[in-house]
C-alpha cells in the first residue's frame, strides 16, 4: 500500500518518559508504574511505525504527549476506562498529526523521503512551466468541485482522496448504489468543467 505522505519509517525511539516522570506520590492501582510502562512501550511501537524520518527527533516528545493523553484519560475515568491496542495507536496518530500540523503552520518543508525514494511532490523538481500547469490543474479541480451540487461534490472529494465507493458510502452514510451514482455523475461533471477551463 502506498504511503500517503511518502515517508519511510524512522528508527525506533531510544528513550521515552519513565513512569516516575508522569506522576508523583502513591499510584492508584489503575495507574501503576507497570501499567504506565506498558502503555509507553505500546506507544513507542506505534510511533516508531508511523513517524516520518523528518520527525524522528520528535519521536520521544510524541510518545510523551500521547502517554500524557492516555494517563489523563485514565485519571478522568478513575481507571474505569482502559485502552486496547487500537485506541493506543489512534492516540499516537492523533499526536503525530498535531505535530505535523505544527510543522506545517511554521512553514517548514513538506514531508519527503530521506532514503532516495519517490518524492512526495513529484512535480516539485519539474520545470517551472510544468509546476505552474500542475498547480493550475489543482486549483481548477478545486474550483470545479465548488460548482458541483453538494452530494456529488462530497462523493467526488472522497473519491479524489483515494476512498473506494464502499468506504465513501459508509463515511457519508449513503447506500452503495447512491454513492456510486453520485461519484459517476460527479466525475463526469468535473471533467466537463475542466474541459471548459481548457483541460481536456
Amino acid at each position: 500500500m502506498d504511503n500517503p505522505v511518502g515517508f519511510t519509517f524512522a528508527d525506533p525511539p531510544q528513550t521515552a518518559p519513565r513512569p516516575h516522570e508522569l506522576h508523583e506520590g502513591s499510584d492508584p492501582p489503575w495507574l501503576s508504574p507497570e501499567r504506565v510502562a506498558e502503555l509507553r512501550l505500546e506507544l513507542g511501537r506505534a510511533i516508531q511505525r508511523m513517524c516520518p524520518p523528518r520527525l524522528a527527533a520528535q519521536a520521544d516528545d510524541l510518545i510523551q504527549i500521547s502517554l500524557l493523553r492516555l494517563v489523563e484519560r485514565l485519571r478522568k475515568t478513575q481507571g474505569k476506562q482502559d485502552f486496547n491496542l487500537a485506541y493506543i495507536k489512534r492516540t499516537a496518530l492523533c499526536a503525530l498529526i498535531d505535530e505535523i500540523r505544527r510543522v506545517r503552520a511554521r512553514g517548514e518543508t513538506a514531508f519527503e523521503p530521506e532514503d532516495g525514494g519517490e518524492p512526495a511532490h513529484p512535480h516539485r523538481d519539474a520545470d517551472p512551466q510544468q509546476q505552474l500547469w500542475a498547480r493550475q490543474i489543482g486549483d481548477h479541480i478545486r474550483d470545479c468541485l465548488a460548482n458541483l451540487i453538494t452530494p456529488r461534490r462530497l462523493a467526488v472529494l472522497l473519491k479524489l482522496q483515494g476512498e473506494s465507493g464502499r468506504e465513501t458510502a459508509t463515511i457519508l452514510g449513503w447506500t452503495l448504489r447512491k454513492t456510486e451514482n453520485l461519484i459517476s455523475r460527479g466525475m463526469a461533471d468535473l471533467r466537463q468543467c475542466l474541459k471548459g477551463k481548457g483541460h481536456g
Partner: protein, 216 residues
C-alpha cells in the same frame, strides 16, 4: 483528451498547501469521521472542508493509510443491492449452521487443543473458534513446548469497540482465568471479544498472542 481518475486524484492531492485555519477539524474528528462514527452533518462538513484545506486533506490520507494498515476500514454501507443481500444472507445462514455444529463439538470436548502453525513457546487457545459462555466464561490456553519455564501470565479482554476493556488480570500462575459474569452482563449476545494473553518466561522473555471469540 480528458483526465483519468488517477490523474485527477494525483493533481488534487498534490495541490498547493493552504494554511490551516480555526475551522480545521481535530485529528480525532478526522479519525472518527472516516470510520463513520460522527453525525452525518458533522462528517459532511469535514468532507467539504477537505476541498479547501490541503493540509487536512493530507491528514485525512494519513488517517486513511493508518486505518487501512490496521484493518479498520469503514464498515459495510447501509444499503446493498438485492442480489448481494440475498447472497450475504445465504452465506450467513451457512456460517451460522456451521458454527452451531462446531459449537456443539467444542462443548463436548472443552479441553481439546487446536494445533496450528505456532512455534515452540507460542501460545495456543483452548477456546479458539468456540463461543464463550457468559455464565462460566473460562479462558484457557497453553504454551507450545519446548519452552522456557513460565513465570506468570497476563490476560486482557476487550470488545471490538476500541474503548472498552472488559477484563484484565496479571500475575496469573495458571494458564486459565474465568471472567466474572458481571463483567459480561452488559454485553449483548454475539459480542465479538478479543483476548490477549502474555506469557512471561523465567528467562525474562515474553510472548503475546491475541485470540478472538464471540460471547454466547
Amino acid at each position: 483528451m480528458g483526465f483519468h481518475d488517477s490523474e485527477l486524484q494525483h493533481h488534487f492531492q498534490q495541490a498547493a498547501a493552504v494554511a490551516p485555519d480555526q475551522s480545521c477539524p481535530t485529528a480525532e474528528d478526522l479519525w472518527r469521521a472516516r470510520l463513520g462514527e460522527l453525525s452525518p452533518g458533522r462528517t459532511r462538513r469535514i468532507a467539504a472542508h477537505l476541498r479547501t484545506c490541503s493540509g487536512c486533506a493530507e491528514d485525512w490520507r494519513l488517517v486513511q493509510f493508518q486505518q487501512r494498515q490496521d484493518g479498520m476500514n469503514p464498515a459495510r454501507p447501509i444499503g446493498q443491492s438485492r442480489a448481494w443481500t440475498t447472497l450475504a444472507a445465504a452465506v450467513l445462514l451457512t456460517a451460522a449452521g456451521f458454527w452451531l455444529v462446531q459449537h456443539r463439538v467444542e462443548r463436548a470436548e472443552p479441553t481439546r487443543v487446536m494445533r496450528g502453525e505456532q512455534q515452540p513457546g507460542d501460545l495456543i487457545s483452548r477456546q479458539q473458534g468456540a463461543a464463550l459462555s457468559r455464565e462460566a466464561c473460562l479462558l484457557a490456553w497453553s504454551v507450545q513446548t519446548p519452552a522456557p519455564p513460565v513465570s506468570h501470565y497476563a490476560v486482557r479482554v476487550s470488545t471490538d469497540d476500541i474503548f472498552e476493556v472488559v477484563f484484565a488480570a496479571k500475575n496469573l500462575s495458571e494458564p486459565r482465568i474465568t471472567i466474572p459474569p458481571q463483567r459480561l452482563a452488559a454485553l449483548p449476545r454475539g459480542t465479538a471479544l478479543t483476548w490477549r494473553v502474555t506469557v512471561y518466561f523465567e528467562n525474562g522473555t515474553q510472548v503475546s498472542r491475541v485470540f478472538h471469540a464471540r460471547l454466547d
